[in-house]
Symmetry: none
Subunit: 232 residues, 2 copies
DNA sequence: TTGACACTTCGGCGTAGGCCGAAGTGTTGG
DNA sequence: CCAACACTTCGGCCTACGCCGAAGTGTCAA
């Protein structure tokens, strides 16, 4: 392909409103799921899927499959740089759209939410980080955590139902789950669910009426400080 | 217009092969007539005219009427920078396997060319590398070079018009500009332009009649060896 | 004034590509 | 095992836009 054509092809990839909306969302540097990006762009899932395939073929985004989700993120810093350069041209000086703006769009959701049945967002990450720091869990293999003996003690003291979690047949015990807003793995699987159950049971978190957003109560804030050595 | 739409609109302007060909031709920083650009893009005059109107409306090119001719040129350095940035994306990214094949595509252009008003390609990189090696310039911040005191001496000995360059109001003095074929920053800004002027004034480089390919003369080859400790 | 020329506007043709619903694939949980 | 779910592929509709020929506008030179 000639220089001209490859330039035009790359620019054309950015030149569609739906794809541009996706790329702008990805400018925050995090990985987003395909359905997320579809919602952001305001298009149906099949359309989004097609766009994402083309963006991948053009080398603008990378995909990582995790369970039944597929997470997409920008392929590199240079992609972000090129997009920002284009934005500065387009006069839409308005928003450096990056991290801070995207963050502000939905602060609560990013702060604390459930991912299926376990905690995600900053609170989920704080818990995971704390467990890792204290040596209560360790990465094992590509997709799992290992609960150490100290971790077992810690969970029991906290009131987490380890027996119940271990007894669930066919369910992974402690899974690494990529957190789309934090871009690092948090704790999922039966253990992640049991920990989340404990948070709800002890009144540390409350589900809001709609959606996946979760509110951290004052007691939860104190519990994070006391048990997890984390502030939120 | 929203951020998304203006980004998409600008990118779409570059994303058409005919317009991309015109923009690439205009990267030499010179003004080209409409019929010239039509020939370069390989399209009929009416089609080219339509494209040029749209490029003008998008703020990518400026028009100057002169007699019955109309000359078009890039609207600014930022336009050139954005296009170069996009090229660095599209070049090596889509086809990592065929890097050398891509090199063979336009060997002369990759060897030496102008990027708006400064030298680019291997020769531009050789100059930049030499200045860096000798401690004449250093990176400063994210996008600039700093000319050291030894660099100031070196430029004066070479006959580069430093006062003139420093006096250009509102123009960055020494800018880092991503070289799309070398994929590293070379020297741009007023200093880059002044150095390029010196190369042309001393007969080290010659502009070819069309396009931005630049020929390195035999004197230029010797000058590179003598002053820049570089072979080409 | 007339003709040559550079360029633009207009009108109509043809296709690339964006869009969605329906159906298919792979993973998770019960 | 099956149901739910996230995602993709497929097929067909439809608009946007690139393209050109013809005709219109402005400039130059005799």
């Amino acid at each position: 392909m000639s220089t001209v054509n490859s330039l035009a092809a790359t620019a054309a990839l950015i030149g569609d409103p739906a794809r541009a909306a996706m790329l702008l969302a990805l400018l925050d540097g995090r990985a987003h799921s395909a359905s997320d990006l579809a919602a952001i762009a305001g298009i149906a899932a099949p359309t989004a899927s097609g766009h994402l395939v083309r963006l991948g073929a053009g080398g603008l985004v990378e995909m990582r499959a995790q369970g039944r989700h597929r997470f997409y993120r920008l392929a590199g810093r240079d992609v972000a740089a090129a997009i920002e350069e284009l934005m500065s041209l387009s006069g839409a000086r308005a928003a450096p759209a990056s991290a801070t703006a995207a963050w502000r769009r939905d602060p609560d959701l990013r702060f604390c939410r459930t991912c299926y049945d376990h905690l995600a967002g900053q609170v989920g990450m704080a818990v995971t980080d704390s467990l890792t720091r204290a040596g209560h869990i360790e990465p094992r293999g590509a997709k799992d955590w290992r609960l150490t003996s100290s971790g077992r003690l810690f969970c029991e003291k906290l009131g987490v139902d380890l027996e119940g979690a271990a007894a669930r047949p066919g369910r992974h015990f402690a899974r690494r789950c990529l957190d789309w807003s934090e871009r690092r793995p948090h704790i999922a699987g039966a253990l992640g669910a049991a920990i989340a159950d404990t948070f709800f049971a002890r009144g540390w978190t409350e589900r809001l009426r709609r959606g996946r957003t979760v509110r951290l109560t004052d007691a939860g804030r104190r519990a994070l400080a006391r048990h997890f050595d984390a502030v939120a």
